[in-house]
Amino acid sequence: MSIVAYFKEEGTAATSVELISEVEQRLYREMRFLDDEEYRKWTDMMTADVHYFMPGIETRYRKDKTDQMNDLSRMAYYNDNLEELGKRIDRLETGTAWSEDPATRYCHIISNIEVETTANPDEVLVYSNFLVYRNRLERDEDTLIGNRKDLWRREDGVLKLARRRILLKQNVLISKNMNVYF
């Protein structure tokens, strides 16, 4: 299987308060769109070549060198381009997505935001942590927690999400499905 050196870029801590604040506001806005199920507005914040990646992480011993975070050929919850993300969202708009009707209640909380500049003046690396809570019907309840590493690219003056890697801190997904975005 092909192992791609996927997301190993490193940057330099950003010093511009203005830039950091701009990034933070973009991250919060994204999560508000997800809380409100405004999925098209959410994907409008992405570049056309976005890659949205959430690998499945097996429990392995420390000495094990299997690259579970960067090998794109392994099983993943999400390994999507914009079209594939779009198809998942299409489902929600059919009117027959039964497991979302009645609606699920979502709350996305983002913290630990860190911004790094890169060699490319239009691109920044962004680290963050998430806590996504969802609750539906009577007492269905999930709390999903993890880290993200993003690449945001400025296009026509606006920062857009170009790449995101999501690491969920669960081995067995303690939920019946993953009808949720991060």
Binding site: G56, Q68, N79, R88, R91, W98, K176, N177
Partner: protein
């Protein structure tokens, strides 16, 4: 000796259903005592899927998994055979392996440092000098081995019951169908790297019975998924004349004969092209009939708890965790000969359709959870469930082995799954398990038999 069933007298489990009339008693999805019996009578006796050969290619490669609720380690040996043993130290019972997969020369308990080799033999312990002559014969204290282990075309199975019939006999004529998945191209199959596991608050049988024969739910439950993956189009109508249920002693495969439906649902044009290209070869290899079964709108389960979708390439086990919970382990199965690009495309397609975030999978879990949890109500629990669809459509088909019903919309594979379930639950030993489908192909390789007319 088979694993001793430590509980007292058992009821007649056939009374929990009437497969002639077409109903099943809900208590089999809810009752703790019945669940305990399933662990003894089914999971401690039947051949259970452990791993694909490709997951553990090199000596020392291992995966950990469950047989029923028993934790086991599956390891490739130096001579390339595979052993499986309990993941539980013989000293105080702690687990000796905590990884899902990896490579190791030994499994060492964290508690007192008892060390076992890849064959499960006890080789040493921390401060071994404190054991004096006569305290322990290490050869007697290895990890408990499964009673039998064998594989069929890459799929490794094991049973805890040394009196169980061979794997070939257990799979029986279902091998003829399995070849359509496992042997449709030279080189056979492999699993893609990784495993995705999730928890569904449902009885394990709801997953198995859904895949064994519930074509009917697809067009309704998965309308949204189908339209999403298929440019707004709903499921195509089913050809009730030319689609079937096939059941072999509790294993089952429901299928159309159009050859493309499931591959189409994967939503990957390159994969479609791939199969169109190899289909003439597949027809030569397996015969026309199976080359049409493969890739059609279809789903299948191997008794008791393995399921797959040929053409969509998802392969999974439904692991029991009490009457009200199952753990779903999913894999992606591909042909070894495929180019990396096709394998990657399939993997993406599977995760878009039948991963936990897949457009199809996400509507299943909620159904099964509610089918299960409503039975906490003692009044609800005493009601029957209807399994009578297509009950009079049994046919003899000249090409296909097994018990065949016409029309893909049918409950027959499910009825026969529950019949096998009751047979296993009632049997004192394997001699008591009725052979509901008399094997016609036992002792013969099934790949080269294109149709039962030529058998």
């Amino acid at each position: 000796m088979p694993i001793e069933n430590m509980s007292g007298p058992r009821p007649d489990y056939s009374r929990y259903m009437d497969i002639e009339k077409g109903w099943v008693d809900r208590r089999i999805f809810a009752d703790q005592a019945i669940y305990e019996q399933e662990l003894y009578q089914i999971f401690a006796r039947c051949w259970l899927f452990l791993a694909h050969d490709s997951q553990i290619p090199k000596p020392g490669d291992f995966i950990t998994t469950h047989m029923g609720e028993d934790s086991v380690i599956v390891v490739r040996q130096k001579d390339n055979t595979v052993k499986a043993f309990l993941n539980s130290c013989t000293h105080r019972g702690n687990k000796v392996c905590f990884a899902d997969a990896g490579n190791s020369r030994r499994f060492v308990c964290n508690y007192h440092g008892w060390s076992f080799d890849t064959a499960g033999e006890l080789t040493g312990m921390h401060e071994e000098y404190c054991y004096e002559e006569g305290d322990i014969n290490k050869a007697d204290w290895g990890l408990k081995q499964v009673a039998q282990i064998d594989s069929y075309k890459g799929l490794i199975f094991a049973t805890f019951d040394e009196t169980a019939p061979s794997l070939e006999t257990f799979l029986g004529d279902f091998r003829w169908y399995l070849d359509a998945l496992l042997d449709n191209e030279e080189g056979g199959t492999e699993f893609v790297g990784g495993t995705i596991k999730s928890v569904i608050g449902a009885n394990w049988k709801f997953g198995v019975e859904n895949f064994i024969g519930d074509a009917l739910h697809a067009g309704w439950t998965h309308d949204s998924g189908c339209r999403a993956m298929n440019n707004g189009e709903p499921f195509p109508p089913v050809d009730m004349q030319n689609s079937f249920h096939a059941s072999v002693n509790g294993h089952g495969w429901e299928f159309g004969m159009e050859g493309v439906g499931d591959i189409f649902l994967l939503g990957r044009p390159k994969v479609m092209e791939y199969y169109e290209r190899i289909r003439p070869q597949m027809a030569k290899r397996l015969g026309e009939v199976r080359s049409k079964i493969f890739g059609s709108v279809a789903s299948a389960s191997i008794f008791p708890n393995v399921s797959f979708l040929p053409g969509i390439h998802t392969f999974r086990t439904w692991n029991p965790k009490g009457p009200y919970e199952l753990e779903l382990k999913t894999f992606v199965i591909v042909n070894k000969e495929m180019a990396e690009e096709i394998k990657d495309d399939i993997t993406k397609g599977v995760m878009c359709t039948f991963g936990p975030g897949g457009a199809f999978e996400m509507d299943d879990g909620e159904n099964w959870e509610n089918c299960t949890t409503v039975n906490r109500g003692v009044v609800t629990r005493q009601e029957k469930l209807h399994y009578g669809c297509g009950i009079s459509r049994k046919i003899d088909h000249p090409d296909m082995p097994g018990t065949i019903y016409r029309g893909q919309y049918n409950d027959s594979n499910q009825r026969l799954f529950y019949q096998r379930w009751a047979d296993m639950m009632n049997a004192q030993g394997w001699d008591d398990v009725p052979e509901r489908h008399k094997s016609q192909l036992n002792g013969r390789a099934t790949r080269d038999i294109p149709s039962m007319k030529k058998a």
